[in-house]
Symmetry: D2
Subunit: 369 residues, 4 copies
């Protein structure tokens, strides 16, 4: 069944393995007439690309995207768009060590238990390399969004690395692109660099929390009750490799609030409803309020570390394993553009759904209502 | 589009409003040959039913389920099963106050903005009353699971109410059914009763965290990469009214761990792989490991409180509102059986998918592999 | 899986058996703001209702539809609409004869082989009684279409009964509602009455061909390449009980034409493109041209006849069977409103899809293009 | 929405245009463990490939398929399989003539009306070149079927070309691969060669009827009521370019039969039920009976002919057009392997569905029932 696909109307199917000849995204449902070229997509892939600084894996991939279908004379035609990325750094190394051993914390054992066969080269399909296809699909989604919601702006950033959180009072949008961690807090950027350098040298790894904010989302998108905007965002983020938790607005902390503190009061502004606060994260009843849509997700530390760990073999024998070679001390860093891409895909999808289902019926608040 | 449906093979479509004549679940894909009668489903509805103690809303609904199709001589036939619950307590009260005003924290405003029309009686489709249909579908799913995974056992319970958390060291499965909060900690049950009584009397409300554990889940279920078991569980839980966050295993705290602490080591037990810990929450790469599947979700406090709040009218005028009448001081309590139901539906769905996609290919770990 | 559903955006799930307590249609995706009441749907059910004249089965069903959800103050709200029809004539007859015997030409044997259990009362789920739910869904679709394509008009009629075809030169739209066969040819109506009376008295049955024409369909709807308008119409018609063939426009006869005869030439009319002929049946490349959309389907004769037939029992013993009681000498008659309903559902679905996917990009032919 | 996809569990998404860099099929849901290599798929593409004899278009395409993902060490892994075919013969010709003119009988005008933009090079997405991707997907399906239904054999052949029908009494399976028309009648093969040669020389074209028979289909597959085996086959065949009608078993002629003639009587054979005839085409109530599954479809004559035809331009001006260059006098010939491929995909899909939904519940007819 179409389990490697997501989205209702903007439907993305990703394909490909870490060490196969190529990977990509087959996109069905992109509206016609969207100006697009490879460069517009490439910029987002470059943001995610490994090997750009000492804090991410040293695998070197060109990650060059090719558009194989669905465009004509520089615009989309409404037919399926194939975005392909060839794998260039398929290092011909010896996989003997993991061929029969299952790496703890990785999907090696479960893929084998499910399918009875696994492509063990670099994790095969379970590799985070699959997220390159998501980023490509997200890049296209961003362009398509422009025609439907011109003011919509999606930004991802890190808010926590290991025990270190950002200082919300020092939050600065302009800092995000100024440091390798996409962190909106200049002081944190400096502190984290030293912390992560220590982890990298010791061959350890650490988790992180990424927040993605979408500003300028029109009110009214989201499809109750099983395609709610928050439902689809939760699924989108949880489907990213290594993610263990997803929060909307107040998130898990909503448990600690009373009703008086949690519900955002409504006032009338010059252009429509305004809110006294945004505990809701921009979503009520699964539908956008017009406030910022705010999602957070936690990424676990990579399990590829330089410490010896106990495990078993395919044959059921107990043994030990140590993961040598390239690794990311904090995979959360590279998850930032992936989270942005998922947000873009989900929002485009719901913008399209809203057009299709509602048309002229949409409620406007005001004297004429 | 089929936005009021969830599931891949066990496909549930819920329908109905808070104050319409009836609500229910249309279930397509239940395997044939499952023994079922209304009593088997009713027991779960009774667990969720309002008005059972002073901590939940005093709305009185019989919540009697009727099976209208899909069974013959006491077993399912493989055709669609219609589970209908008639609304009996459609109190003919005056809705004048909320007809034109939007209640803060509720979906009143977004439904109006999306659809241009809303059934304001009791929240209409956005009411938590919709979850009765989920519980019915979950009751059927539990029976169907018995044939596929006889040892599978699903249990939900509260682990936090407002600032009060359970003591994990005092965790006692047997306590869960002994108190009105489904809390696995006898001392907490007593403390919470006093706390909630205070909230109830003051007309306030508070959030909660519910945990649902599934024991006896076979290894190998879950469908990478967009129908991962954790992805589908995140969507299922986030789709429940008032939920703002979902965690699998270590959840958001995974951000704080290092790779050494997070990855569960593997050993070989008499019946298959065993793990030193369960930070993963029973899922690796989206596929079950055979360990307990552990999901948590946070429920925000209900926004129906006795404090006056600022809001606007449909016509855009600023005003105030206060929600009188029946309310739940902690809606999280009644979310426990709903979370269990969603877990049951998702697990049945993936058990069916696993059968369909894999058959005899499933990997067994052992000398012959 | 959602196999009892059809449609992309206007999604209809039918449920119920011939002799269960009720049957119905759960409809997800109907746009909000459509004025609807039970009477608007009932008129189409009355057209299909059995027992109206001596040419159809004498089963007496009130076939009264109830709307259980999805409307408020007389209009749709955008939430799921439940249309329920209770079975009233569940004649408590002796089913001993067919309980263990498989009726030739019926689905008795295949349902048993598939599911291992079957509701043998009146054919259970495989009964044509299921089509009542389709007609209800089609009635709602007709109302929703009005807002999107006000000039769209759907008409079904018989063009062949057994060996007797209508005279195309005598085609008269006004005749269709003047005779019990929905035949657009006054002379044929008379001839067929005599022919069918003979069949009825002898306990035999005969097949038929129904044609459904949709006039006023806007150009540009249909979703290449696997949701083509003709693809979806073919599936919709073939899914009706007893249908064995579906044709669009020229249909099977297209095989006999040369390219010169088949391709409809294009000219420019005052309101847009016009065509010299309509061999295409209003569809090119799966997309509507703006001409009449013309579909035909063949209905086999009912296999419930008064002649003894050879068959086997569940236990594999050879035996004979004769179907006593109520039967339709030409089930094709009652298939006319069913075909219309399927056309309405498919067209609404594609009108909605076209809105959602394309918006303002649609091509207009003219000087400015 | 996923409109370029078909199938429930074996889900095929095709992509690509006639004159883009490549086209292909993204396949999700192929079971793991299926031995596959490019040669196994290439044999079917070679059967469809143009330019093999004087009766088909002289476009020269290598049509070489590459497997880009989803296999490891020669077997499928259960992950998505990308089958890519690069376009090599993108003749750099002058498209000036059709850039602004709509070819009658082609989808030029409707694609423009739907999308507001069209890739006019060779028909773009509406070109029959898309069927190469179907044939590739069908080739893989054939290999996957082997594990599930080892005796299943799919064969397509022509039964009518223009006015010329085969002699059913002379039907000879062994003739099918002996002539360029895949016709099971040696005499017809000779007659048709002369007939088609005349058409080719005069620049005309003609339609055809193709029949596809599947032998060895297990009883019990097909998913009532909207995923019936015949419903899915009708959709699959109608979705092929130029198809205007689809028949199952007796097809449109069922209209002319009486109930006595149409219903196939059942007897008990050594291995299960047997039937006196096969008017049903192997399907009752949407579920396979175990008899041959027989589907026919009519292909219209290509509209690319050497006769001048009236048409209009994008700007709405009346003009004339004549299609020069390569063309197929009878596109039905190359539709034979396409019809086989669609049959293979649909049958695999339903074999997988049957496994997933039913398991051990399947009914066996015999003394123990």
């Amino acid at each position: 069944m179409s389990i490697n696909s997501f989205g209702h109307l903007y439907r993305v199917t990703t394909w490909g393995e870490s060490h196969g000849p190529a990977l990509g995204a087959t996109i069905d449902g992109c509206p016609p007439g969207v100006p697009i070229d490879e460069g517009m997509i490439q910029q987002w892939l470059d943001k995610r690309k490994p090997g750009q600084n000492k804090y991410t894996t040293q695998r070197r991939e060109a990650d060059e995207v090719r558009i194989l279908s669905g465009t004509f004379e520089g615009v989309t035609t409404g037919t399926p768009i194939q975005l392909m990325i060839e794998n260039t750094d398929q290092r011909s190394k010896d996989y003997g060590d993991i061929k029969d051993k299952f790496r703890p914390g990785h999907a090696d054992i479960t893929y084998f238990q499910k399918y009875g066969i696994r492509d063990y080269r670099g994790g095969g399909r379970s590799s985070a390399r699959e997220t390159a296809a998501r980023v490509a699909a997200g890049g296209l989604a961003r362009e398509a969004i422009k025609a439907l919601a011109p003011n919509l702006k999606i930004t991802g950033y890190m808010v926590q690395m290991g025990p270190h959180k950002i200082d919300r009072d020092a939050f600065d949008w302009d800092q995000i692109e100024q440091n390798p961690f996409w962190v909106p807090d200049a002081k944190a950027a400096g502190d984290w660099a030293a912390y992560l350098d220590g982890l990298r040298k010791s061959g350890s790894s650490v988790g992180a929390i990424i927040e993605v904010t979408a500003r300028g989302v029109p009110a009214g998108i989201g499809a109750p009750v099983y395609g709610k905007l928050d439902t689809d965002l939760a699924a989108a983020m949880m489907s990213i490799n290594a993610v263990k938790g997803v929060e909307i607005g107040e998130g898990m902390s909503a448990a600690m609030l009373t009703g008086e503190l949690n519900a955002d009061e409504i006032t009338m502004g010059p252009e429509g409803p305004e809110y006294s606060s945004n505990h809701a994260g921009g979503i009520l009843g699964g539908i956008s309020t017009g406030q910022d849509v705010v999602v957070r997700f936690a990424v676990k530390p990579t399990s590829s570390i330089l410490t010896t760990r106990r495990t078993i073999t395919k044959q059921g024998e107990e043994t030990e394993i140590i993961t040598k070679g390239r690794h990311d001390p904090c995979v959360g860093i590279r998850a930032v553009p992936v989270g942005e891409a998922m947000m873009a895909c989900v929002l485009l999808d719901h913008l399209l759904l809203h057009r299709g289902q509602i048309g002229t019926n949409r409620g406007r608040i005001g004297p004429e209502a």
